[in-house]
């Protein structure tokens, strides 16, 4: 009898523990989706996820030279905005001088504007990890058209990652 009661208690404990695990997993999931960075949930396009971030008008010339950060607490600098172009299919691409060390050894890569957000004076790449960005082809302007400095484009927002 006593043994049975203890068994019940033990199984309740297991249940409780499982519940706690599920709850923590839920929190972790919520955090991985929303803190400044995303990446977009599976099945959601970049454009759809960017639309959830209240895209705001910004002058292209005001973006040039801005620091591009990684959406993590340490806000590592990934590079700087070099230029803004329109790709072959009309999508806006932000050309980022990516990587390197103190500006040496960086190379330009073209990141879809919908993968980036504005953070005050800075920008963040929220939809790609550094590993993914490292595999981006070095940007070549052929087939793209530059976007004028005084053009207005729309870029989503995020809360600071720190």
């Amino acid at each position: 009898m006593v043994c049975r009661v203890m068994n019940v208690v033990a199984s309740m404990r297991t249940l409780l523990a499982a519940g706690v695990l599920v709850a923590t997993a839920g929190v972790a999931d919520a955090q991985s989706r929303t803190p400044g960075g995303m990446p977009p949930p599976t099945g959601m396009s970049l454009a759809e996820s960017a639309a959830m971030r209240f895209p705001q008008p910004v002058r292209v010339g005001d973006l040039l030279g801005r620091e591009v950060l990684r959406p993590v607490e340490s806000q590592d600098v990934l590079g700087r905005v070099r230029s803004v172009v329109r790709g072959k299919n009309g999508d806006i691409l932000i050309v980022v001088d990516y990587g390197g060390f103190f500006g040496f050894g960086s190379r330009p890569i073209a990141v879809p504007v919908n993968a980036m957000v504005l953070l005050g004076q800075d920008m963040e790449i929220v939809a790609f990890t550094p590993e993914q960005l490292g595999k981006f082809a070095t940007f070549s302007p052929s087939g793209t058209t530059p976007v004028a400095d005084n053009a207005i484009i729309k870029v989503g927002l995020a809360k600071p990652s720190h």
Binding site: T34, P35, F54, V58, R59, D62, Q121, L157
Partner: protein
């Protein structure tokens, strides 16, 4: 002459050998260390150091004292620095206690500003009512307690003008705000009456965008960023301490600049 303190019978020298490990462990630094922790305990006189709640209360007491000192030092006529319009960051920086995807836009047409407390005319205000009031523009720095800042241009109704119009008791202690994002906030009356404290309706000459508090937010140049609630829906003038979202989580209430 023989020292007065010299014992008549001198102990056997072998006693030193017997207690060598103990003698070795005697260190003057140990005394320092002991003194330090004693000092630390003395700082918390009156507290049971085993109970964090009492330590928290003591620290909160210090924070309230800091608030009072800041309030004493506050000069209601001193203006915060302003900047040329060319320095306005467009768009401004978004921040909240949640991410931007959770912003709930407010319908300006049905929005009402509710008034309560020590106010003579508690008639709710519409957005048109506020737009019809004299508008003031300021270009000021938004300084966040986290360490970042940006220069922003805000246009709206001076809170002083508004409080005077509705017949608020300007000798009351606090002006409290409620918002649609459950971010209560409150400021002292002196800061509420400061000429650089606005009920802001515009940013950079354009209607406030949704993530920045449309239709109305508080924008004051004399407080840290977290004292600037967005999407304001109610104002109360009161003598009862109203607190605020971050203040109830240990942030200083006065938070002056």
């Amino acid at each position: 002459m023989k020292s007065l303190f010299r014992p008549n019978e001198i102990a056997d020298a072998s006693i030193l050998d017997d207690h060598r490990p103990l003698l070795r462990s005697l260190e003057r630094r140990g005394l320092f260390r002991g003194g330090l922790s004693l000092g630390a305990l003395a700082m918390l006189t009156g507290c049971d150091v085993k109970r964090p709640a009492s330590i928290e209360a003591a620290l909160l007491g210090i924070s309230r004292f800091n608030d009072d000192v800041q309030a004493l030092l506050f000069d209601p006529n001193k203006l915060a620095p302003t900047y040329p319009a060319s320095m306005i960051l467009r768009p401004p920086k978004f921040n909240a206690y949640y991410d931007v995807v959770d912003v709930k836009p407010v319908n300006g047409a049905t929005w009402r500003l509710e008034l309560s407390g020590r106010i003579a005319d508690k008639q709710p205000w519409t957005l048109q009512d506020l737009q019809a009031m004299p508008q003031t523009s300021i270009v000021i720095k938004h300084i966040c307690v986290e360490g970042w800042s940006y220069i922003g241009g805000w246009t709206g109704v001076r809170l002083r003008t508004f409080l005077e119009r509705v017949g608020a008791d300007l000798r009351a202690k606090y002006v409290a705000f409620k918002t649609t994002d459950n971010y209560p906030s409150s400021i002292d009356m002196a800061s509420a009456l400061h000429p650089q404290t606005l009920l802001a309706l515009q940013y950079g000459g354009e209607t406030l965008a949704d993530p920045f508090g449309y239709p109305v937010r508080l924008r004051t140049a004399v407080k840290l960023g977290y004292k600037n609630p967005k999407w304001v829906t109610a104002i109360e003038v009161t003598n009862t301490y109203p607190g605020g979202y971050w203040e109830s989580r240990g942030f200083p209430w006065f938070a002056g600049l």
